[in-house]
Assembly symmetry: C2
Homo-oligomer: 385 residues x 2
């Protein structure tokens, strides 16, 4: 794969008219002798995710396979790698954009996503901030000085207390007054009642002082809840909202902004560091809790770095009794090869689904035979062998 | 804050009937002398997120403030910290659940979210896998042996080629045949056409071999797109789908499963390591690209660990010219105090919104005066002073 990716690197670029490449940059912690290989692995992972020998089509090699266009030392044992990714692979889907620029590569501990250079065709997909700094200043009628923001805390306060705090902040002249990011729709401060009371509080302060303030309620929930609350907020005259994009999901955030472009969106960083979740817990427990029936994870000894213990714990978590929750099926993957079938089954046991990806395809003339062998060996395996 | 949190730890628990606590566990890399303080900081961050002296209400101290219930050494310089979080703060909102168990704490490099012990009231909010291992086995009519899974690769193949590969895998006896996670709705393999062709391919293979296989198309997109494609897939007779929950967002995934409970959900790990995004790039660029007008980030010298350079680069990214995208307003936050107002403005300049949270509230009798001072000092600041 690596060798072949390096070959591709030298090929003439042959994107058809109207199609192009974006450049994604990664910071890679790695020894000098390994950086070319790591860079090629990133290019493969962020495009075709399979051995290049499994690709017989020239068009795919020319137009679809991502390619390394720059490797630059940026510190001791640290490199900046620039990879060109075909915009064809993204189309016009903002979720697929995230997938192609940093989907699988996010699973490597030594790779950090650090930059983007996108052509017009991709940028056109993103209207970006609908108001931006200037729009916020216009709403607040503050052309140039720094702005002020205060948060209503702590959660647990009842609505009259929150509204009183909101009024106090507005009277003091704060520009934007936001819910604390932990304030949702709890019994102690229901959303609609709170929004109405806080919006009334800033209106009252405005009558007293003549100074404009914006109240930004926190919108949090699955997409439908976000949209319902946005409608309520709009009806109550709200002009700014607080949302944690990484928590609700970037694509869900994108769609919310699209549906309610009149709001000023204040982005909260909550869950913005979500990689610090133990993999055995994220994949084994959380994804099951949220409704996954089968969970694909990157297995030890493949293209990623999870340990044997992590993988065993992950599978155990997916299956363990947990209230009324059904067990989920562990699916070890991420560079599994035919020669490991029995070893993997011995390790994970029968309540497992084996996923072999590119390795079934390395000989395009013998995919049926190779896959048959995969299936037969799985069927022939028994725990007692 | 820390001292007070330790005090709270000893208080009698006074949750009203029907309310309870969940226990979240974190792995913290930290020196022995600091672990109590770090644990207390996590408890504060995951509940009230403000100095305890700003809380005058006994009910909030008793019922809302999270508390450290266990600290255990789990390795050299590494501890497991158990924190009880009030279920009242979550209600029945799965997005708020993520927020309260690992929202802000995700932004600390030395803290990893590692476990959960949830009471019935919270578990009842999550139906979890609708099929689970047993349901998958039932659909496939495979009661006990390990299952097999293959992926159609590489992306870039046209629909007839993908369908042929699907048929080959099905004829070889593979149980679940999934799209590669990079396959979306690209011009070279449109979703509807692909799903119809691959579904026909497994039906054809079934007639030839008598063996049941499931085809799992990849659903990727903002929530509306996910739901549209799910409807198409259901109409075409699809029984299993591939989704990357961390990429579409856990709450969006939750809602999709709720809306289409008949599908078997195969969870893909893509974007499951999304913390490895340089903060200046994630907050300064990506969140702006997705539509944030103002971006709250954890500032240097507050409760989190971003450096001065990171913060400067983040603010520069939010404002820099970028195609037609409007600049977004940087909002440094995360433990900012009154004594830093001028320093922060000197550093960030006028095109900034300052967010002071709990520090405005430390003297509950003087919130108006303190906030007025905040506002006046911001107004009085000038770059030329």
């Amino acid at each position: 794969m690596v060798r072949a990716c390096a070959e591709v690197r030298g090929r003439a670029r042959a994107q058809p008219p109207g199609m192009g490449w974006l450049t994604a940059s990664y910071i890679v912690d790695c020894a000098a002798r390994d950086i070319e290989q790591r860079a090629a692995q990133i290019a493969s992972e962020q495009s075709v995710e399979c051995p290049l020998e499994a690709i017989v089509d020239e068009r795919i090699l020319d137009e679809i396979v991502a390619r390394v266009v720059g490797i630059e030392r940026s510190g001791k044992g640290r490199y900046r790698v620039d990879v060109e990714i075909a915009t064809q692979t993204i189309g016009t889907n903002p979720a697929q954009f995230v997938n192609m620029v940093f989907g699988n590569a996010s699973l490597w501990d030594d790779v950090m996503f650090a930059g983007l250079d996108v052509p017009e065709s991709i940028l056109a997909m993103f209207p970006g901030p609908r108001h931006g700094s200037d729009g916020i200043r216009k709403l607040l009628r503050v052309p140039s000085r720094p702005l002020t923001n205060a948060a209503m805390k702590p959660q647990g306060l009842h609505v009259p207390e929150l509204a009183a705090l909101c009024r106090t902040f507005a009277l003091a002249g704060v520009d934007i007054i936001k819910d604390d990011h932990g304030i949702d729709d709890q019994l102690y401060s229901p959303f609609h009642e709170r929004v109405r009371a806080c919006q009334a509080a800033i209106a009252e302060a405005h009558r007293a002082s003549g100074k404009t303030a914006l109240y930004a309620p926190n919108l949090i929930g699955p997409p439908k809840v976000l949209h319902e609350r946005a409608r309520i907020a709009r009806e109550e005259g709200v002009r700014a909202v607080l949302v944690a994009p990484m928590l609700v999901g970037l694509p869900a955030f994108f769609e919310l902004v699209e549906a309610f472009p009149d709001f000023v969106y204040l982005a909260h960083p909550s869950f913005g560091g979500a990689r610090s979740i133990a993999p055995e817990f994220l994949f084994g427990r959380l994804l099951r809790l949220f409704g996954s029936d089968a969970i694909i994870f990157v297995n030890v000894g493949g293209r990623f770095g999870y340990t044997r213990d992590t993988c065993a714990a992950l599978a155990a978590n997916a299956r363990a009794p947990w209230g009324e929750l059904k067990p989920a099926l562990p699916v070890p993957a991420g560079g599994m090869k035919m020669d490991r079938i029995e070893e993997l089954l011995d390790f994970y046991g029968a309540d497992t689904m084996l996923l072999i990806g590119g390795n079934l395809l390395v000989d395009r003339e013998r995919v049926l035979e190779r896959t048959r062998e995969f299936v037969e060996r799985v069927m022939a395996w028994s725990p007692a062998r």
